[in-house]
Subunit: 182 residues, 2 copies
């Protein structure tokens, strides 16, 4: 859904771009239009999600989409223009799990430079055990820490966030964990 | 440097795009190519920076670029592909202030939905009082909290981050502050 194909043509006029360092003091190669001088920047993207929890259980979603079809994940997706990270995380939780919940604090901030992403996860307190997952989810289910299928978790960001959540829960104090997935 | 002009042509083949909701279950209008079916996504961008500090002073940079030419700011800029948020924040500090420093913890995570950005600031401990600002900076200078020209600060994200930094410093305990600039 978010694979970015290489920029071959100018977004403004359609001319074939050239890759070079712009003359404005920049230090990186960009796709530059030789006709209208438009400079095309490509930057990392924010991904936002939640750890929905109910008592000592957390909600995981079985992916109905590639990549990692059939693996378990937390509700998360690309942040959209016009929303905050928290609103984006809530939207994804609604779309993928169809859960009733209340947003809580930020728990992880993770850079994933290999894919050009920054992931931010919030805790979300579930208000009901009834889920209505969207088309991207095969099944939404609650797991205790011991029940989590650790070998079947779709992404390392999800695994690391779940570990931080359960660790903080044991300590009785939640904080923001900032680290990199390299 | 990062104004994004509207997408008028396909990045892949140069054809004029149409704005519509793609047929893949998406719920938002995207620039879609009627010739090669490329879907063009536009998402918020991460901005990364630091609060460089020296004793009870912080380093501010007087902007030599628009917007807000001549106003004071913290070193910050758009995160680049291939780097982590912390690496990006360090790079911007090096480029804009030319300071010797050591990176420390994350201090603010701010959504700015009006401009489609997420700002992340880290503390950075200065290791010297010698600065060598780049072309984007007129002057780099240390200020105590009382000396800061609050009315001449370029952005609200910078003002809010400075307030959090000095508050935490007084408390003797730094934490991550996540909030929105709306």
């Amino acid at each position: 859904m978010m694979f970015r194909s290489p920029i071959k043509h100018c977004r403004n006029c359609g001319t074939t771009v050239v890759y070079r360092i712009p003359d404005d003091g920049d230090t990186r190669e960009r796709a530059v239009c030789p006709a209208c001088d438009t400079i095309h920047y490509e930057n990392p993207l924010p991904v936002v999600g939640t750890v929905p929890h109910w008592g000592d259980q957390v909600l995981l979603c079985k992916r109905n989409i590639e990549p990692r079809w059939g693996k378990w994940t937390l509700p998360a997706g690309f942040m959209e223009l016009g929303e905050t990270t928290e609103q984006g995380a809530a939207r994804e939780t609604d779309e993928e799990a169809g859960a009733l919940f209340e947003m809580q604090g930020l728990i992880t901030v993770m850079s994933v430079p290999r894919v050009g992403q920054v992931h931010l996860f919030y805790r979300a307190k579930l208000l009901s055990e009834a889920f209505n997952p969207g088309h991207e989810t095969i099944e939404a289910r609650l797991f205790t820490e011991d029940e989590i299928p650790w070998e079947e978790i779709a992404f390392r960001t999800v695994k690391e966030t779940l570990h931080r959540y359960f660790e903080d829960r044991r300590k009785g104090r939640f904080e923001v964990h900032a680290f990199d997935i390299v």
